[in-house]
Symmetry: none
Subunit: 218 residues, 4 copies
DNA sequence: TATGAATGAGCCTTCATTCAT
DNA sequence: CATGAATGAAGGCTCATTCAT
């Protein structure tokens, strides 16, 4: 007859910061797995182990939660890029370092690729609401531009390479096979997610970039 | 009292084949613009100027309509690729020809990019149901492999390049800036859809591929 | 074992006009009983014996359904007023005829009173969207004005009475005890909805109006 | 490092009575503006500048808060009516004095009209829980009855007028144009809230009551 | 005294789909 | 061939309210 407390389920943590973090983490997974439209607020709540209502308490709306998730993955990228120290290396090494970093970042952050994909499906509806993002990559492009010019003067690097184009290429070569993994896998009849294929891809991409920037005697 | 037929509104084309084609066309647009989940069966009906019910009449379900759309864009790709004649050119020219074709195909078929993107969001749920797709690219890869080997023997092309990796790179370099147009545009603060940027991108990509496959004197 | 048809519930009438009418009727009751905010779309569906979804099929939204209900009660009022023939009576008789009609209209159309009350709670949010309503009462006021002037000239009616003020008074005297029935009943400890009270009220109101417009020898 | 108390924000007034009063005041506004169903407990908290939880602390529930608001507006009315001194005037003057008082009370207490309206929308659900209200108006009716009888004997006032009916009429004539302001305004295309209209209405109402009770030579 | 955290119930609305004509 | 009528399931969001501090 006694109503012991152990009978009812744990009423959550009473730790707002942690709860908020768990919700964001869950949102990241759900949005990555299903896109904005396909994501279910209830699924996020379940992943976070909390009441759906709580999501509104902390984030206000699905849109705002999505914006928070978007902000978070870009913040992660920015924080990682800041750790790069391109100036310290020789021009060729710096380019390869960036190429490797870019490749590895997308490899180990599939959520970035997924959410970015969803965002593009929506014609960038949300990313355009985050002005801070546009300030993210400009410094990197400037640094890369410096490296290319330095390398060109030193005869190490083919002159005339546009930094932004090169960076877009690095991103393309590093992300597209993840982005389009399923269609490419189906097309080629090969599993592009296998460790072997990914390792081969990394080698190929780095070689391709190296060859592309190298100075050639003609 | 008689209910003569002239009283009711014109009941469409009475041309089943044409109606079916219009629906497929409309579906292509809608799926490309909104993805699978975001596409509305009613919107497709409106685009096609017909009754939603008719879609079920001709295609059975939203899934089947989507499959038809998927099939159609891959058929288009296959048909274009068949027009290529890589064997007729010198190895270097053949590679560049393929690069240019690939770039131009994605540029002029944004629906392919969009629907492909949606498909990957769904983890390839539908593309895996179309076995004919896997037979599409194998011939191309084989041909490209032949070209690369021929070029290597002739000393024109750097040996050891994997055909599939190279082709994935071509696709990546040609499609990713379209696929991720909005996020990249927001990131760089540049409009990646402008004609100028696209033209510069084409030049960059072709040069990059050329440099990557070129044989270098050690 | 046989699944006879009488087992499943009647799948509705397949008579759109009738269905639409039933929904409107149900909406009228529900809105009258609970106001706009308190009305439940599902309750309306149940009253109408149909699926909630059907309401959206025919009316689009709760707002639009409410607008339709509003329109309908005013149309009813207009149609009744048009049957009045004030010009045919002597001025005094015409005024009393209008007073009696007004009293009886509100008595027998409690939905009008209720929905009107709800509308005022919303600061007339919806009534302002129905421009046709403003054209409803102007003719009546003009007619009443004519009657009053005619009566004044004939020495039957006290001169200087403003037609609109008088009409507002008729409405007030006829509607307010319905509108505020519960608070007044509670205040006076009397049931204002009883037949007896209503009958006495009618007599009182008509007498009051009669005395108010009568020409007095001073 | 020490977390001194001056760091956290001022925890409100620490004056329970005042806080309670502010909440009641806020509730009055919110209920008047939105009715019972439309009122938001959080909006009341914001108006009162306090935490929603505090409302529960002081008043228990939304219902109880509403009851308190209801009690308060009727207490205000009772207190005002008690200041009237009908016996001191001549019968006619007394009637007009009451008419003017009633008109002015509703004019200057729109919250009374609004909350009363909301209450009637709810079929008097709450007013029936306040037995003290029914004891409010009985003395007034008795007084008015006395005045009418006195006036009838003196030949000043038409005999046979029922005091309650007359009082209901006064209320109706004074309140209905406020109660139904928006629908009437929309109907007549006139702004019934304008100062001019209200002034003309007052004159009209007083004249109407005067004429209605006046003794006429047959 | 006062407050933020957390919840369960319920509402409007949308969508793909089938029924009957 | 073609269409309007009708439906069940589910989703985002809001609200009053209680728990724990």
């Amino acid at each position: 007859m006694a109503r012991n407390t152990s009978n009812r389920q744990e009423p959550r943590s009473r730790d707002p910061e942690r709860t908020k973090g768990e919700i964001l983490e869950a949102a990241l997974s759900e949005f990555a797995a299903n896109g904005y439209g396909g994501a279910r607020i209830q699924a996020i709540a379940q992943r976070a182990g909390c009441n759906p209502r709580l999501i509104y308490h902390y984030f206000g709306s699905k849109d705002d939660l999505y914006l928070a998730a978007l902000r978070s993955i870009y913040a992660e990228l920015r924080s990682r890029e800041n750790e790069l120290n391109l100036e310290a290396s020789s021009p060729c090494d710096a380019v390869l370092k960036l190429a490797e970093f870019t490749f590895d970042f997308f490899s180990s952050n599939p959520a970035f690729v997924s959410i970015t994909r969803s965002e593009n499906l929506l014609d960038g509806r949300f990313v355009h609401q985050l002005p801070e993002i546009s300030e993210l990559s400009n410094p990197l492009i400037r640094k890369l531009d410096g490296v290319l010019k330095r390398g060109a003067r030193a005869g190490e690097i083919r002159p005339g390479i546009d930094a932004m184009q090169l960076y877009v290429s690095m991103v393309a070569l590093s992300a597209h096979h993840i982005n389009a993994m399923h269609t490419l896998s189906a097309t080629f009849g090969t599993d592009l997610s296998s460790t072997d294929w990914r390792k081969a891809r990394r080698t190929h991409v780095v070689e391709l970039i190296a060859a592309a920037v190298a100075h050639r005697e003609s």
